[in-house]
């Protein structure tokens, strides 16, 4: 039934999307690659400068810091993924009443705009009147200035990053958990395995495909963090040196200082970083992901 009319319809129906993706995705990719080898003039226009932008980034302290901050943030947020597994496992406890109420509450941060989330936590993390230091003080801990301190800012942002993604990841894990056949647990119970043992011997191994997926998307998103940094850290705070991420630097260079060529080079470095780290994750998955 492969008629010529069907071809025509096929092309007609994908045409608008293909055209749009061409203009707003494919062309920009090519253009950004090109721009990363140019310098933008004061009055617009671009001059070819070869690999100058990349050599400049290589020796740039801000870029080195941004790379370090971004990687640290990604590691911290990835370290928070087990929280979502625990939440999902608890939500999946048989006979649990009010499961959907819990799910709604855990999901609330996911649907709230990061700008509002960032402002709220900027207040909670305030060194003088913030609630977090108040509670730490009750415990006898003298809390740092968090969002005002370059040594602590990225940790504060990562806590918010975990807080706002737990619900999303828990939903993915819950779907994975519900795909594990109940018979496995029944068989294990008959063999006398307790809840905890079942969790480590059945749940975690059978959940690894979902875990892998969550780790990959969490990492890719974390490497692109911008919103929370932009809203939580004041624009001229010294804490920015300890929390400026790659995308933040991209934004500053491209749209505050109008160094578009340099900004394009930063975006290209980010692409390379994401591709390499994702490839490593795919390589490593053979060692720990169980596919049935």
């Amino acid at each position: 039934m492969l008629s010529k009319r069907e071809w025509v319809w096929g092309y007609l129906l994908i045409a608008p999307m293909a055209l749009g993706l061409g203009v707003f995705y494919l062309w920009p990719i090519a253009q950004t690659l090109y721009l990363s080898f140019t310098e933008s003039g004061v009055f617009g226009g671009h001059t070819w400068v070869g690999t100058d932008n990349f050599t400049e980034l290589l020796g740039d302290d801000q870029m080195r810091d941004a790379l370090g901050n971004t990687l640290l943030y990604a590691v911290l947020v990835l370290a928070g993924v087990p929280v979502a597994i625990v939440v999902a496992a608890l939500l999946n406890v048989p006979g649990l009443r009010g499961m959907s109420v819990y799910r709604t509450l855990y999901f609330l941060p996911v649907v709230t705009m990061p700008a509002a989330v960032g402002l709220t936590w900027r207040y909670l993390f305030n060194g003088d009147f913030g609630a977090i230091n108040h509670f730490l003080g009750e415990l006898g801990i003298d809390g740092p200035y968090w969002v005002g301190d370059p040594d602590f800012a990225i940790y504060a942002i990562a806590i918010v990053g975990v807080w706002s993604s737990v619900g999303y990841n828990a939903v993915l894990f819950l779907a994975g958990l519900q795909g594990i056949p109940r018979q496995y647990y029944e068989a294990a119970s008959m063999d006398g395995a307790g809840r905890l043992r079942q969790f480590f011997r059945i749940t975690l191994p059978l959940l690894t495909p979902t875990t892998f997926f969550v780790l990959v998307i969490t990492m890719i998103n974390a490497l692109q963090v911008f919103d929370l940094v932009y809203l939580m850290i004041d624009l001229n705070s010294p804490a920015l040196n300890g929390s400026r991420t790659i995308v933040y630097l991209f934004f500053e260079k491209g749209f505050v200082q109008n160094q578009r060529g340099l900004a394009a080079a930063i975006a290209v470095v980010l692409l390379g970083l994401i591709l390499v780290l994702t490839a490593i994750q795919f390589r490593l998955q053979k060692k720990w992901v169980h596919y049935e």
């Binding site: 406890v93 999901f107 969550v214 932009y230 624009l235």
Partner: protein, 271 residues
Amino acid sequence: MSRARTWPAHVILTAGALVMIAPFVWQVVVSLQTLPDSLRVPPKFTPSWEWSNFPEVFRSVPLARQFVNTVVVTVGVTAGQLLLCSMAAFAFARLRFPGRGAIFMVFLAMLMVPGELFIIPRYEIMQGLGWLNTLQALIAPGVFGAFGTFLLRQFFLTLPKELDEAARLDGANPLQIYWHIMLPLVRPGLLALGLLTVMWSWSSLLWPLVVNTDPEMMTLSAGLASLRGQFQTNFPILFAGSVVASLPVIALFVVMQRQLIAGIAFTGSKG
């Protein structure tokens, strides 16, 4: 399983849930405090019913205008996504044409590319069109999406083959099959994509921040960012703005949560 065995789960989940919602409650409380109350040490955990923060924030920034902007952009982007993605997804899933596999691979490849790579050239496109500080600058790039096409294709693939065959025997052309037969059947997919798109579009920050610098043309996300610049540590005002900005999507989620969560779970299972 007896209910007696679920109490440990309840204890942990409740403690976690408190951590999840405390910042929201706190935000609402502070949005109703006076400025001195909001800066007290130790913190004051009750509102002082200072309702004037809300009119105040509407007076200081064009918040109402930004609200309308955000609604217009979100509706435009979502409607566009649903139409264009479903058209392409239907073609990829149900029609055969030369190059289909290769073109689809190109679509998929774009999912791998971080959004920052698109921003500078898109900005220059908008500049060239004279579209800086317009709402169409926010809508136009947003209506195209490889993710939505991929998501809906999965839904179209699950429909039985007999459907198209029967319709074809009745003389229907692919456009009629798409619109009258298939589209109603992938409604759960459309709903999931629609909700995800609303969520993303409502919250997105970087592109709106870059392309619309005139407060009158900003969306709420960028508006909040500029409000921060204006009010620094006047948190009651900032939070009044935040509550107004984030409430609509939270309300939509509470009403439609089953569909949204089903959609997200679905992206996980196909990933």
